[in-house]
């Protein structure tokens, strides 16, 4: 819904439409997290891509998106999971669904940035 939109219906219908819209907006946040995860971890995508070589551009994107999926499946470090995946395990039935989809999903979470920890940083004493 946008500001200024007009709706017709009963109060209950309008209220329900508004609540539905709130949930859509809230869930849309996951797309934002996904985008931030991609652009945050693949810094190369923040730099201008080559304009003349369509294949190298497409290949670069395909590499980044496949790597993202690989990392999500193996390590599971992203905000979307942190919010939604605990929902899987709240009941016994959901726990079973979780176990059956183990291969599709992911493993342990890591906290530390994998690149910067290999570089020296000054420590002042």
């Amino acid at each position: 819904m946008k500001s200024g939109d007009k709706f017709h219906g009963t109060r209950a219908e309008i209220e329900e439409k508004y609540l539905f819209d709130c949930e859509v907006v809230s869930y849309r946040q996951t797309a934002e997290w996904g985008m931030r995860s991609i652009q945050g971890s693949f810094g190369r995508l923040r730099l201008p891509l080559s304009i003349n070589n369509i294949h190298s551009r497409a290949n670069l994107l395909e590499i980044c998106f496949r790597l993202h999926n690989l990392r999500t499946r193996r390590i599971g470090q992203n905000q979307i999971q942190a919010v939604y995946i605990p929902e899987w395990r709240r009941t016994t039935e959901e726990e079973e669904i979780w176990t059956n989809f183990e291969q599709m999903l992911f493993g342990d979470q890591r906290r530390y940035d994998r690149v910067t920890r290999f570089y020296n940083r000054p420590e002042y004493v």
Partner: protein
């Protein structure tokens, strides 16, 4: 084994003993290139290579990485295939958003900056007056667990499995 390709010479026999980086080094170089915005000069210093070698290794390494990822089941980009998969994703969404009965993923656009082009048709296709820069637009579909189901960019269709 193939030789590392270079634009200024023909393909000779591979010289694995004469390579500047081993396979771990080459992968490390490529991953640093992808995951950072550092200039190639920084990569040269980190890996102890001259500029031409860094460029060649990046191009060569990216090709190998792509071929490898295409063969790895864990790196697949694919839609859910069974009703059970769709239902499982919907269950996760509905647990937090009870009114989104049919939702299984979310979709959004991503604008990636490109260089300007001399070709006027490409220039016209990529320049975005609203954002005052040149972009390639793409669309991504994300699952509730953060997986990418699908992506397509600009006027070429990429369906990836």
């Amino acid at each position: 084994m193939t030789p590392i390709t270079r634009a200024d010479a023909g393909a000779g026999d591979p010289r694995p003993g004469g390579r500047s980086l081993d396979v771990h080094g080459a992968l490390g170089l490529v991953l640093h290139y992808l995951n950072s915005t550092m200039l190639e000069t920084s990569l040269q210093q980190l890996f102890g290579l001259i500029p031409a070698t860094v460029s060649r290794y990046i191009i060569f390494g990216l090709d190998i990485l792509l071929e490898t990822l295409r063969q790895m089941p864990g790196a697949k980009i694919r839609w859910p295939e069974t009703p059970q998969e769709f239902q499982a994703y919907n269950d996760v969404i509905v647990a937090r958003h009870p009114r989104l009965h049919s939702a299984f993923a979310t979709i959004d656009g991503l604008n990636l900056m490109t260089e300007a082009s001399d070709d006027i048709d490409i220039e016209n296709a990529t320049y975005n007056a609203w954002l005052s820069a040149h972009f390639i637009s793409s669309v991504l579909v994300f699952a509730p667990d953060g997986m990418i189901f699908f992506f397509q960019y600009s006027h070429t269709t990429q369906i990836i499995c």
